[in-house]
């Protein structure tokens, strides 16, 4: 093998001008593929992170006797859930209030809200640490009247951390009610998840709603990272032995449409994907775009290299004939040429990889939050590419395999050249 490597290396160096175009195709192609993949993965990871914060974790546990239940009933449900969860999972109770008429007031200025989430800041401390705070933090006050709002809302109201604002909303009986709450934190998120969403101390929300303590979702969060599908399935299997469970849903609206309340007392595990099923089409579109780009570039690289290399080998027919005359078998000749291709590809992939890292670094320097609607894909306004070594290695593997296969196919007849045939081809 050493001989082939040395021969291939020497050949690449001495014929570097001939191989320049092949090398360029390879490294540019790999650079583009890795760049697109990492950017897309980063965008999707950003969406996922935001969704995780918004939905309180990695999955939600809904249903039972009622979609909205008292805290006592919720505690019972939580105990059942916690008995099947790994020890590192964090559970918390929330009340999500879809705000039809919620407004915030501060010194006469007012802003409407879309969603207000009643949370336990203590219990969800690990999750709220993931927010990017412009000011303050998600602090649970003894008076249970804390709230965190987005920077956009804070800007419109003119508030800062520590200010007291008035929350105005209709109670469950339709009465207008107000409560004073303290803005303990202002977070950065101008995506659809965070822009008009605020997180308020659960007790304060119940007080202003003039309601008994009610819960409409139990959230489960894995601080160590998003759980795998097999983990979710294990939890599902264990839980289904204790309660009646709806199949793991792809779209939470399917569950809501079929839920019949106390009659069946059915529960559901709602993974993060099912909550953002509206975005699934967009996610699939992104994956498809990446796939098309990768496939196209792989085809270009493999066909381009194989057809160009075929010409190169044909021009080296004398060399091939000489080697054959010296006793080299066709298979050994093939190995020599394939080793050249392999070294070329490896060098190209390596340079492509390094270049892509540079491009990714440059791309992540620019604040792109000025692009309307793009904030969902950004982290603090910047692209945050994610490099999966496994994926990158798999991509390189695919390039190597397809190109070498293509070259093999191309060279299978050329390597059977005889010395006489090689000389004859010159004349």
């Amino acid at each position: 093998m050493n001989l082939y490597l040395r021969m291939a290396g020497k050949s690449l160096i001495t014929r570097r001008r001939q191989y320049r175009s092949l090398f360029s195709v390879c490294f540019v192609g790999v650079c583009i593929m890795l760049f697109v993949m990492c950017i897309t993965d980063g965008m999707l990871a950003s969406v996922n992170d935001k969704a995780r914060l918004y939905y309180g974790g990695d999955f939600q546990f809904l249903g039972g006797v009622s979609l909205e239940k008292t805290e006592i009933v919720a505690d019972e449900d939580m105990a059942i859930l916690e008995s099947v969860l790994p020890s590192n999972a964090v559970t918390s109770k929330r009340y999500d209030y879809d705000a039809h008429n919620i407004s915030f007031y501060f010194e006469g200025a007012n802003v409407r809200q879309r969603v207000m989430k009643g949370v336990d800041f203590n219990k969800e401390r690990l999750l709220f640490e993931k927010f990017t705070y412009v000011e303050g933090s998600a602090e649970s006050l003894e008076s249970h009247d804390s709230i965190i709002v987005s920077s956009l809302i804070a800007q419109k109201l003119g508030v800062h951390a520590g200010d007291s604002i008035t929350v105005f909303l209709p109670t469950k009986n339709g009465y207008n009610n107000t409560i004073q709450v303290v803005v303990t934190g202002i977070f950065q998120d101008s995506s659809v998840f965070g822009m008009y969403t605020s997180y308020i101390d659960y007790d304060a929300l119940m007080k202003v709603l003039d309601s008994e303590s009610i819960i409409n979702r139990i959230c489960v969060y894995f601080p160590s990272g998003e759980p795998s599908k097999s983990t979710i399935n294990k939890i599902y299997d264990s839980l289904s032995k204790k309660v009646s469970l709806y199949p793991i849903i792809q779209n939470k609206n399917d569950f809501y449409n079929q839920y019949s309340g106390e009659k069946d007392s059915v529960y559901a595990i709602v993974p993060l994907d099912a909550n953002i099923s509206d975005l699934r089409l967009m996610v699939q579109a992104l994956h498809l775009i990446v796939l098309v780009i990768v496939v196209l570039l792989v085809v270009i690289i493999s066909i381009g290299i194989s057809s160009t290399f075929r010409v190169i080998v044909m021009k080296r027919s004398v060399e091939s004939g000489t080697f054959r005359a010296l006793g080299m078998k066709p298979s050994m000749l093939l190995i020599m040429y394939l080793t050249e291709v392999l070294l070329l590809l490896l060098a190209g992939c390596l340079l492509g990889f390094v270049l892509s890292l540079g491009l990714l670094k440059i791309a992540s320097l620019y604040n792109l939050s000025f692009i309307s609607g793009f904030d969902m894909f950004l982290t603090n306004g910047y692209l945050s590419p994610v490099l999966h070594i496994t994926k990158a290695s798999a991509l390189v593997g695919v390039i190597l395999v397809t190109t070498i296969t293509s070259v093999l196919f191309t060279l299978r007849k050329l390597i059977h050249i005889s010395p006489v045939g090689a000389i004859a081809s010159i004349q």
Binding site: G108, N176, V208
Partner: protein, 262 residues
């Protein structure tokens, strides 16, 4: 000595009790006054038509004026409001019938369902303020006090909501003792925060009906800090050209607004 002190104190005690004995309002009287004030805002025997001028003052942003003509048929719980000014809003209107309120925009020729809780043309007036008041039906009296409001002798009613879905769970009403008309109103949230103040300083007598000549509504939440001092938004309403003549039935229909906007 004790007798002397007693002789001085006793008349004083009697005098101090006299106002209570002479002017205390009974529950029945209070309810009657409240009911009468509701009746004064309702015109069951005839239609009502008037011109409204609403001047909204937003601190730091200036004033804006809206003119409208209002038609009411309280016997059928119907009304129509046609905006006549400014030019940008001319032709817009509201029509209520079958317990639904519709907003009409002539620019897209569409009717949109709206709610009594919504603001009228983004002023500080609620749509519900343009309808007859039903405090005696929707609220219970938690407290009554005789007070003086400027030059008016009033009964101050503190009311608590008795039904769901009224805008304000707590209302304070200053009702004139003699004429049983609302002179001032304060609307509070469930937690007791003052949300809105309405003052009706003057009324006009038209065909035996007492109709507000002017009103001021102050929004105690919205406003702006000007020179370090909080100033709240307010809307001043002037009502004129009041008439109780019967109007054509078509006036209280969507077609009327569509036709009048063309």
């Amino acid at each position: 000595m004790t007798k002397k002190i007693f002789k001085i104190l006793l008349p004083l005690m009697i005098l101090s009790l006299m106002p209570i004995c002479s002017f205390a309002i009974t529950d029945a009287e209070g309810k009657a006054i409240l009911k009468k004030s509701d009746e004064n805002t309702t015109y069951k025997d005839s239609d009502f038509k008037a011109d409204y001028v609403m001047v909204q003052d937003k601190p730091g942003q200036g004033k804006s004026e809206t003119k409208a003509t209002m038609y009411r048929r309280d016997s059928k719980l119907m009304y129509t409001i046609r905006i006549t000014s400014p030019e940008s809003d001319k032709g817009k209107g509201y029509v209520q019938f079958d317990e639904s309120i519709w907003f009409y925009d002539p620019h897209d020729k569409q009717f949109t369902f709206t709610s009594a809780k919504n603001k009228f043309q983004n002023t500080n007036l609620n749509n519900s303020d343009l309808s007859p008041q039903n405090f005696s039906r929707d609220y219970t009296i938690s407290k009554m006090t005789e007070v003086t409001l400027g030059k008016f002798n009033c009964i101050l009613f503190e009311l608590k909501a008795a039904v769901k879905n009224v805008d304000y769970p707590t209302v304070k009403l200053w009702i004139g003792k003699e004429d049983c008309v609302v002179r001032k109103r304060e609307d509070y949230s469930l937690s007791g925060q003052l949300l809105r103040t309405t003052a009706i300083p003057s009324y006009q007598n038209v065909e035996g009906h007492l109709v507000p000549a002017g009103m001021v509504i102050i929004d105690n939440l919205r406003g702006s800090k000007i020179n370090g001092k909080m100033q709240y938004e307010k809307t001043q309403i002037t009502i004129s050209n009041v008439s109780f003549q019967k109007q054509k039935d078509v006036v209280y229909s969507k077609q009327y607004l569509e036709t009048m906007s063309d």
